[in-house]
């Protein structure tokens, strides 16, 4: 009888109900986190745009080779890792546990490749003399905004790789369910999504011609 009452409540979505969103609490939690994290990144990107707008000049240090080619490659890597993630979620949904774990491991590999490429980019810029507070072009805010934006994004990718590793290990052993894989996928796609804004705003609008 209690179950019947529960379903009656669930049936009327707009009255609130027990589960008005028809998603699990983990998934809803991740969506709320993504909503708030997207505002964090938006604030940083708007702040960067504001600072750049107000600056009399802004350096354009990104040459086609290596910076733009590598950044495009990083976009390709991240988008492909999103594809493997979504295929992994699909496999886990169909109960193909081994296949799902394999796809998640591939996704982690993509994330690691992204971090390596990006760390190398940082290394080169630091070698050129770009710091958080100074750079050869005399626009200190360039380094501040560049390292803050890409650094926070790289931190998200790095923690994403760790998160996926934990989920993959737990899912392989049967400790985690399909929902856990799906929720970790949401996080990974969000990290990909943020890069879709950082790439044009930071790189493509600062190409050296």
């Amino acid at each position: 009888m209690a179950e019947g009452t529960l379903q009656a409540v669930q049936a009327t979505v707009w009255d609130g109900g027990v589960s008005p969103y028809a998603v699990g609490n983990k998934k809803l939690g991740m969506w709320l986190f993504i909503a708030s994290d997207s505002l964090t990144f938006s604030a940083l990107l708007v702040g960067y745009s504001y600072v750049r707008l107000a600056a009399p000049q802004w350096p354009a240090p990104f040459h086609f080779w290596p910076s733009i080619v590598v950044a495009t490659l990083m976009t390709l890597v991240l988008l492909s890792s999103s594809l493997t993630m979504v295929l992994g979620v699909r496999a886990s949904q169909r109960g193909e546990r081994r296949q799902a774990v394999r796809y998640v491991l591939l996704t982690m590999l993509g994330g690691l490749a992204f971090i390596l490429l990006h760390a190398n980019e940082w290394r080169e810029l630091i070698h050129e003399g770009v710091r958080l507070w100074a750079n050869p072009w005399g626009v200190p805010l360039f380094g501040a905004t560049f390292f803050t934006l890409t650094g926070l994004h790289m931190l998200h990718v790095a923690s994403g790789v760790v998160y996926l590793g934990v989920v993959a290990a737990g899912f392989a052993r049967g400790r985690f369910t399909h929902e856990d894989v799906e929720v970790s996928g949401l996080y990974w796609h969000f990290v990909d999504l943020v890069w879709m804004f950082i790439f044009p705003l930071v790189y493509l609008l600062s190409v050296a011609l």
């Binding site: 969103y21 998603v23 809803l28 909503a35 708007v46 009399p56 996928g185």
Partner: protein
């Protein structure tokens, strides 16, 4: 169990995901191309790049993150709030011109 059933009914196949991936790569290629071919002024190019990025973000959210297949209730709770708050961030933007327009030395 309700959620799982609804989800499975709406989830796309592998071919759909690959197609979305191809679209995303294509849009990225267009962005890189536009950055080098100066058809437009910087302002117009910025607008075009942002429009393309919003399309890319929409594709990722709708298909990779499955939001398109979730209950409308969830979509309406998440999307408008985020869009409105991001729009509000731009309230500060006109102030960015102040130093340049008033000619004050930074």
């Amino acid at each position: 169990m309700n959620a799982v059933a609804e989800h499975e009914a709406g989830a796309g196949g592998a071919a759909l995901y690959v197609m979305v991936w191809v679209y995303l790569l294509g849009l990225t290629a267009v962005e890189v191309f536009l950055a080098y071919e100066h058809f437009f002024s910087t302002g117009v190019m910025l607008a075009i790049l942002m429009a393309l990025s919003v399309v890319k973000a929409g594709l990722i959210v709708a298909y990779f993150m499955h939001l398109k297949f979730e209950r409308m209730n969830l979509i309406l709770s998440l999307v408008p709030a985020v869009v409105i708050v991001i729009s509000l961030l731009f309230a500060f933007f006109p102030d960015g011109f102040r130093v340049l327009e008033l000619g004050v030395k930074p």
